[in-house]
Symmetry: C2
Subunit: 126 residues, 2 copies
């Protein structure tokens, strides 16, 4: 995974408005939302929203499809997966130092039966 793609994706999410847009699209799932619905829900003027959606699209974090006179936007989950994977690989160098992340993933689906001692041995945090 090329670092410049990662930078583009990080930059796309590194904006209050765009992060909000993405977070609105996530629960909408594959069905997505038309631009207007996003504009209304977040109270963003259409041209401004369009600008931010273009950034997210360029970064591959959202996908647009035309449907009649609507343009439906959906979160591209594979892209954010790649982003998370990149950060994970570039974080702890083979050490398990991700108690919060493991909790987050555990919340979504319990992969660990017993609360692994990974959580206890904490990474080198200072």
């Amino acid at each position: 995974m090329d670092a410049s793609i990662i930078v583009t994706r990080l930059a796309a999410l590194a904006h209050e408005t765009r992060l909000a847009i993405f977070r609105v699209l996530v629960p909408a799932g594959p069905q997505g939302l038309p631009a207007g619905a996003i504009s209304e829900r977040l109270g963003i003027p259409a041209p401004t929203l369009s600008f931010h959606l273009a950034q997210l699209t360029r970064a591959g974090l959202v996908v647009a499809r035309q449907q009649g006179r609507y343009v439906i936007y959906t979160a591209h989950f594979a892209a954010i997966d790649e982003l998370i994977a990149y950060l994970t690989e570039n974080c702890c160098q083979g050490l398990a130092c991700l108690p919060k992340t493991q909790t987050a993933m555990g919340k979504r689906r319990p992969i660990l039966e017993k609360p692994s001692r990974l959580k206890e041995e904490a990474c080198n945090d200072h």
Copy 2:
């Protein structure tokens, strides 16, 4: 976790140079590296490096400590853990849609004995 902190951290990493700085600090571990060593290794003029280190510090992604006339910088793993956890929680809404991430974590330590079918059922990627 406040979204504006997340935005600050994403923005801090969303720059070619700063991402490189962070990636140099990660393998250095808790011992860290003096600013000069980073400057030399990445070929960045001192004032420019100082500017970027300040951003990373402000975002809480790196920590500085004075040691004689050196300033030693270390990666703050807990911070990037929080970042990854945030993205994880805001990605798939309870669905396990993170094959790449699970692979990345598995590489670091095999948490799953059998290659869970999570990988197969892929998320709603389009």
